[in-house]
Symmetry: C2
């Protein structure tokens, strides 16, 4: 699925005048993107194989599990970790299956809150446990110290991109 080489094609193009250190940054970003996509692909395959469900459905239920009082649709959309899902469409299907319920004023759809039903909570827990077991096996590739270092580097990188003024222009 990933072709990290594509953006490096112009590494032989003198116009870019990029130093080896500079290309390292681009190469590292493409590797980060590719690694995330490979793991996400594994999670999608797991959810399909074991629960005949999709990552956007799982993600939506995960957000609701954190909010026992329910979430308005707009807030639910903002909290989704993965994209590509139609939040309203997914919610409609989960409601038909009895896994989520809409609560509140039916005359004002924007005021409706969505939350997991007890059946939805139970279904989500089974998925979440299988998901976590799979992630543990995936990250078993790394020693504990390497995991800590990776976590530290990602935290620093994320913080820098979120707050760095020089990245806004």
């Amino acid at each position: 699925m990933a072709r990290p080489g594509a953006l490096l094609a112009r590494s032989t193009d003198a116009e870019t005048r990029a130093s080896a250190r500079d290309h390292d940054a681009l190469r590292l970003w493409l590797r980060l993107l590719a690694t995330t996509k490979v793991i996400e692909g594994g999670v999608r395959a797991l959810l399909q194989r074991e629960f005949a469900t999709t990552l956007p459905r799982f993600d939506l239920m995960a957000q609701l599990e954190r909010a026992p009082e329910g979430l308005k649709m707009g807030e639910l959309s903002r909290r989704m970790m993965v994209t590509g899902g139609n939040v309203t469409g997914i919610t409609d299907l989960l409601e038909q299956e009895g896994l989520v319920a809409r609560l509140g004023d039916r005359d004002d759809r924007r005021a409706l809150r969505v939350r997991l039903t007890p059946a939805g909570r139970k279904a989500f827990r089974a998925m979440a446990e299988a998901h976590e077991r799979w992630i543990i096996r995936a990250f078993a590739a790394l020693a504990p110290a390497e995991m800590r270092a990776l976590g530290d580097s990602l935290a620093r990188l994320k913080q820098h991109v979120r707050t760095g003024e020089e990245l806004k222009s």
Copy 2:
């Protein structure tokens, strides 16, 4: 945009019986996902701000730049690094703008190859250079040794997830 805590909500649930080491894996995966999304968001904002274009358009042109002989639509779809784009729709628009051309047998659309026009190549290079400059500034958060360690960890993780038989079941 990211709520890495959502999947950790059940950390207080005795049923999961997860050790601290185990939750570390889940937490690290959520951090990896969130970091990728934050950087991807920065790239999207850059492309919009400076080129009034989108990440799927940039990604599509990047794949074509690597293939001077052009690509069939199916192959182009497979090579895309980001999702969420309608490859046929994007290609149609880029063709209208003169940035890509379809070549080959018009009677057999599947046999058509898409490639960048000279104008498309020029437009892509300007975007790719701005993209790389932004990525270099983003990864300036990390020292060179830290970048190397991050790259090594990601390579090991990706390889393990791609080939690990224990992850297939």
